[in-house]
């Protein structure tokens, strides 16, 4: 008897076929109002026009500095905060409309949070936390508990020993396994992992990453994996999206983006990774200072004040997200032929 019924067949609930993106995000905006001392109303442009697709069965990594809008994007995708504008298409159906209300969307899309402790109710046992979701969705109490135990076993926690524990009684890695089990309790197709392994130490992180890969294969999941750790993203992702100040600066296959980046920001991010080779140490930081204030972002290309390729045109013209290679899109004038940037044509040919 299977306790997790429909999970093993990922295509049972598929509508549009494998070529249709599982989630298609377009024109996503979220501005948070802030009031300055002067009394003038201003906004933080946390997410400022983001478009991307999540393909069926892939892992899409999202990287960027702190404050680039990664987590806001995650919350917008989950509907935890309301978007200002933009649309979400889930397997071809508009989320929030009558065909796909938030309630049924959320049954298919779940999230794992960064803070393994804050995301578990301290007054509930591990088992109760996992069984809560199925219970409120009409699964009988006994069946929900049974499902929770099976999931605990599946994420590597012996149910007999862990089911009755409280969050403060188990380790960080174990808690994150519980969170993963909970996210799977509603049999989702898409799981959003928001810095899900960032707070774990390296050995535990590796185990949890392997667990995530196993679960993905077993349940036919699709992942959106948000992280600031490029090594982890390279390990787990099929495609990578780089965000900067609420915009997408580059998106493409992991190998292309992380080995031959086209955007100077991605280059700088990669160069800032510490190297294990003593002869290959970075001496000077490529990225100077903090990202600009998202209340008052730079004109034109938002990266131009920190960019080594910046030219006058960069502060005037906003670079569109253009295709430069197979599945590879970049928003940088220096990579786009005919953009007016002096480096554009030659570089475009080289790429």
């Amino acid at each position: 008897m299977s306790v997790i019924p429909s999970a093993p067949d990922p295509f049972a609930r598929d509508r549009g076929g494998p070529a249709q993106p599982l989630l298609s995000v377009s024109g996503l905006y979220k501005h948070f109002p802030v009031r300055k001392a002067g009394g003038k109303k201003q906004v933080v442009r946390a997410v400022d026009g983001v478009d991307f697709d999540v393909l069926k069965g892939e892992t899409l990594g999202i990287v960027g500095e702190s404050g680039c809008g990664k987590s806001t994007t995650a919350k917008l995708l989950m509907g935890l905060i309301e978007r200002d504008s933009g649309s979400l298409l889930y397997d071809g159906q508009a989320v929030g409309e009558r065909v796909m209300p938030w309630r049924s969307y959320r049954r298919q899309v779940q999230m794992v949070f960064q803070d393994s402790y804050a995301s578990l109710n301290p007054r509930m046992t591990v088992e109760q936390s996992i069984a809560f979701g199925p219970k409120v969705n009409g699964v009988s109490g006994r069946e929900a508990v049974e499902r929770a135990r099976a999931l605990l076993a599946r994420v590597g926690l012996e149910p007999k020993r862990f089911a009755g524990r409280y969050p403060h009684e188990i380790s960080g890695g174990q808690r994150q396994r519980v969170n993963i089990a909970r996210s799977l309790a509603l049999e989702p197709r898409l799981v959003l992992l928001d810095e899900a392994v960032s707070a774990l130490d390296k050995s535990v992180e590796a185990q949890v990453l392997n667990l995530l890969l196993d679960l993905k294969a077993e349940f036919g999941l699709t992942y959106i994996f948000i992280s600031h750790d490029l090594n982890v993203v390279r390990f787990i992702s099929d495609r990578v999206m780089v965000m900067y100040l609420g915009r997408v600066s580059e998106i493409g296959p992991s190998d292309t983006v992380l080995d031959a980046p086209a955007h100077p920001y991605t280059e700088a991010l990669l160069a800032s990774m510490p190297s294990l080779d003593p002869d290959n140490r970075t001496q000077a930081a490529l990225l100077q200072g903090d990202p600009p204030n998202p209340i008052d972002p730079p004109s034109g290309c938002r990266f131009h004040p920190r960019c080594t390729l910046a030219e006058p045109i960069c502060s005037e013209k906003e670079p569109p997200l253009d295709t430069v290679g197979p599945l590879h899109r970049v928003s940088c004038l220096a990579r786009q032929p005919g953009s007016g940037h002096s480096a554009a044509p030659a570089r475009a040919l080289a790429a």
């Binding site: 779940q110 995301s119 936390s129 969705n137 076993a153 149910p159 009755g164 409280y166």
Partner: protein
């Protein structure tokens, strides 16, 4: 694809359960849970246990009073008025109508405890509901509820209790109603601030993502986390409530004679304060001791609940 998982199949390959962060442990230790830990720590607090024992004793006396009073608490004697403490017949003296003080104090514990504890209990339920609702929903509902409650805070609680009791008229029921009205805003304020503190936690977000309704989230996810601090605050209000209730009776707004109630007894014995000050002070001593006991117990409870979250 892989075979479906069941608890049974997992038990077979239990050895494959990834090692490492699932640290090996000798045996399964049943978890005590939060309240188990609190109880465990409370039992080891001598002051709280002493206060708790005293409260229990007073409650027992109150319940058993009609059967254990040494004399009839209503039967007076004009010849034996205002006997001193230590009298051979009247161990704690007699009151201005010659009634046995110890019997009246024992029977008086019933009403004093009843009108001291009941308003706090009712206010605990109503105030928690209002506070959790305001704290969890937030926005305009929070503004409306909390500003309304702020109106009650404009008056000192003694004045508010007297005003409400005066408006409703004397009597036990009315004094309970007016005291409840005094405590609801105070408890709601605490409940609101505790709830606001946990509203933004990730586990509440996770519960929203599972599709639970706000009411279910409040009941299952919020209540368990806020009920402790609210309860501690409520127990600390019992002493205030007892004093206010006695005050109302003293002013003639609560219990009516000849029913024994500590506040009312203070009032009627007031005329004898020069003739026999010790006996006149006895009901006050009772109020004082029981209030202190409730306060100490509530302090102990708060300390016991300060466990790493």
């Amino acid at each position: 694809m892989t075979a479906p998982i069941t608890a049974a199949s997992m038990a077979l390959d239990g050895g494959v359960l990834s090692a490492g962060d699932t640290a090996p442990e000798a045996a399964f230790v049943p978890s005590r849970g939060f309240w188990g830990h609190v109880g465990h720590r409370l039992v080891r607090d001598p002051v709280a246990m002493g206060a708790g024992a005293l409260i229990l004793l007073v409650v027992l006396i109150a319940i058993l009073a009609p059967w254990i009073t040494p004399m009839d608490p209503y039967k007076g004697s004009m010849l034996r008025r205002l006997k001193h403490v230590g009298d051979a017949t009247y161990w704690l003296g007699s009151d201005e109508l010659g009634r046995d003080m110890i019997s009246r104090l024992m029977l008086g514990a019933r009403l004093s405890l009843f009108i001291g504890v009941t308003p706090v209990l009712i206010a605990f339920v109503i105030g928690s509901a209002i506070g959790i609702l305001a704290g969890y929903v937030g926005g305009w509902l929070n503004t409306i509820l909390m500003r309304t409650i702020d109106v009650f805070f404009a008056f000192p609680s003694v004045l508010l209790a007297i005003a409400l009791s005066g408006a409703l008229g004397a009597g036990i029921f009315n004094s309970i109603v007016s005291l409840t009205c005094v405590f609801v805003p105070q408890i709601a304020r605490v409940a609101e601030s505790v709830t606001t503190g946990i509203r933004k936690r990730d586990y509440i977000d996770a519960a929203k993502l599972s599709g639970a309704s706000p009411l279910t989230i409040m009941r299952v996810q919020v209540l368990g986390n806020v009920v402790g601090p609210i309860f501690v605050y409520a127990t600390s209000l019992i002493s205030v409530s007892m004093i206010l209730a006695s005050g109302l009776s003293f002013l003639g707004l609560g219990v009516r004679p000849p029913e024994p109630e500590w506040g009312l007894m203070l009032n009627t014995l007031r005329t004898a304060i020069y003739a026999n000050p010790v006996v006149a002070a006895l009901p006050g001593v009772c109020i004082f001791i029981v209030s202190i006991a409730f306060n100490l117990f509530s302090d102990g409870l708060r300390a016991a609940m300060e466990i790493r979250q």
